[in-house]
């Protein structure tokens, strides 16, 4: 279940609306105050002007008792908007003239309860009917400066209230428009913010399902656009990492297959060779090089001895090695001469694989009855023979091109066969370039010289010791650095 969130849209609308209302309220308050002041001012000026007008014109008529004329002036004053009463009273408060003739000769009384004074110092009263009235006064002075009394004019204060009401309505209208516009603005703003967020959320959801090809398209050049760019960069990175992981798994799988092929080809045990003993060692490099060795039992107490190295790595090298092993086993059984075996191997492999590969193969036939060794080499480097009687190490490297490079006669013509007599205590040591080319941490290769020295040191001991001794010497030389090529070592010795 999705948890219910308070949407950003709602938050934005609430904030903007609150701000709009606050600003409108402050503005309205200020506006109303100004309006009120200006209206009060206006009413006061008008009231004062009406009152002074009465005071200036009525004095003579009162003096000569022209009551009707006096009343006329007051009635004229009454024509002005909002004027509730107009009168003149003498210093004792006796009304001399009034717009309401019946009030003449009565005593002046304020129009109601006094509330406060205006800034112009005019009193504001509340009448019995609840109306607010401002009373203006002006001294009535006749010619020769004879003071007759005071003119009083009452003007309804509600005039201001009515004028303000109109302002209230205007303000309300403006507020509604402001609210309406701010809601629309907030809506547009929140859409501009939430749309890319929804796009980002959707992108994250899609990426979560494993689809890393989805791109978030946000045109905004703001922080959200930047976030989208970062997100896209992240999915690209994840895609690459995923790809790398897939490739790594594929590579591991390939190496596992190559290793299985390789492992199935290498002998698990060696044939019984009576007075001869055999020992071997094999250690694949991380990328499986394609080294191969074997001791093939042949007829009449003879044995085919093989040490080979296919150039290349992984499954291709392992597959070529499979073919090489198949052809070699078949040809070794069919042909007693090792030169013929390698010539046929070269033809067979070139026919099957064509160019593009090359393998060095050392092949020898050991006659355990006659104690002789016939050896040929297809581009393989030297092999060593430890002579137990001397004791010394001899190095042999029969000439010959690697398998897969030269065709037919050209290959065969280069092959050289070397025949040796094998005496009691003699040991053969064969290996691949994983030994001679093993690299030390600080540079330099193990080389043939060190391999020969190792054999010189251990030659008098069993084949197992010779093999392990050589491997140990290589390990010491490389300082435990990861080996870059397969290492294969084979040793055969005559014990009696």
């Amino acid at each position: 279940m999705k948890e219910k969130h308070i949407g950003i849209r709602r938050e934005i609308i609430t904030v903007i609306l609150s701000l709009t209302l606050a600003v409108t309220a402050i503005m309205s308050f200020l506006l109303l105050n100004i309006q009120k002041k200006s209206l009060t001012n206006e009413v006061e000026l008008r009231g004062l002007s009406i009152t002074r007008n009465i005071a200036n014109n009525i004095a003579d008529f009162i003096l000569i008792k022209y009551d009707l004329e006096a009343a006329k002036i007051l009635k004229e004053a009454m024509q002005n908007k909002g004027v509730r009463y107009a009168m003149v009273a003498d210093q004792n408060g006796i009304i001399l003239a009034h717009n309401d003739m019946t009030r003449v000769k009565t005593v002046y009384a304020p129009p109601g309860r006094r509330l406060y004074s205006t800034p112009g110092n005019n009193a504001v009263y509340e009448t019995e009917s609840g109306e607010k009235v401002i009373e203006f006064t002006a001294a009535v002075v006749a010619k020769r400066k004879a003071r007759i009394g005071v003119a009083y004019v009452g003007i309804s204060y509600d005039l201001i209230g009515n004028a303000l009401k109109k302002t209230y309505i205007d303000i309300t209208l403006v507020t509604f428009i402001a609210v309406f516009l701010s809601v629309i603005g907030a809506f547009l703003l929140s859409t501009a913010i939430t749309k890319p967020i929804y796009a980002l959320a959707e992108g994250a959801r899609i990426a979560g399902t494993g689809d890393l090809n989805h791109k978030i398209l946000i045109k905004n050049r703001n922080e959200l656009g930047e976030l989208a760019d970062a997100f896209n960069t992240m999915t690209d990175g994840l895609k690459k990492a995923q790809q790398a992981e897939i490739e790594k798994l594929a590579m591991e799988k390939e190496l596992e297959i190559a290793w299985k092929i390789q492992d199935s080809l290498l002998p698990k045990s060696f044939p019984e060779m009576k007075k001869y003993e055999v020992a071997a060692f094999y250690s694949p490099a991380k990328e499986i090089g394609g080294d191969y060795y074997d001791v093939i039992p042949l007829s009449g107490g003879r044995f085919g001895i093989v040490m080979a190295d296919v150039s290349g790595k992984g499954i291709p090298a392992a597959l070529i090695m499979t073919m090489l092993s198949g052809i070699l086993n078949m040809e070794a059984a069919a042909n007693p001469d090792p030169v013929t075996v390698l010539t046929k191997l070269n033809e067979g492999l070139l026919a099957k694989v064509g160019g593009g590969m090359f393998a060095t193969v050392f092949y020898a036939v050991l006659d355990t009855a006659g104690n002789s060794l016939e050896m040929v080499s297809a581009g393989h480097h030297e092999i060593f023979v430890y002579r137990g009687a001397a004791p010394r190490v001899e190095s042999y490297c029969p000439k010959g091109a690697a398998i897969g490079i030269l065709r037919g006669g050209e290959f065969g013509a280069r092959l050289e066969k070397i025949t040796l007599k094998v005496e009691t205590g003699d040991k053969l040591l064969l290996f691949t370039d994983g030994i001679s080319e093993a690299r030390a941490d600080g540079g330099g290769r193990f080389g043939m010289e060190r391999a020969a020295q190792s054999l010189q040191k251990n030659g008098g001991r069993p084949c197992r010791t010779i093999v392990d001794g050589l491997v140990g010497d290589v390990e010491i030389f490389t300082g435990g650095q990861e080996q870059s090529d397969d290492i294969a070592v084979l040793s055969i010795g005559r014990n009696a």
Binding site: E287, S311, S484
Partner: protein, 117 residues
Amino acid sequence: MAFEIMENEDGEIIIVELSGELDSSSVAAFSLGFREITGKRSPKKYVLDLKGLEFISSAGWTAFLNEFKQLRASGGDLKLAAMRQDAKRVYSLVGVDGVIESHETVKEAVKSYARKS
């Protein structure tokens, strides 16, 4: 010493200078670098200057053979020059001498192209 690959031109012949050690760990760098050089041109004549190459493993020889085969197939050619003593021994031991021509100096390799054409 790290493996390096550089190209120079001598008329219509491209001289590719290799230095360092060419083994299974640097053979990909050679192939990529060499393909980049050959990819820029229509089939041409190349000389690999091996003077600075201290070591060539079997993977290196395979790479030379493969590049040679590729160039020949597209009408180009490749010759080796200024090989060190160790490399020369393997060159003939493995039989690469039966496939790719080699000369004592780059100059001689360039001259040998002129003789043929």
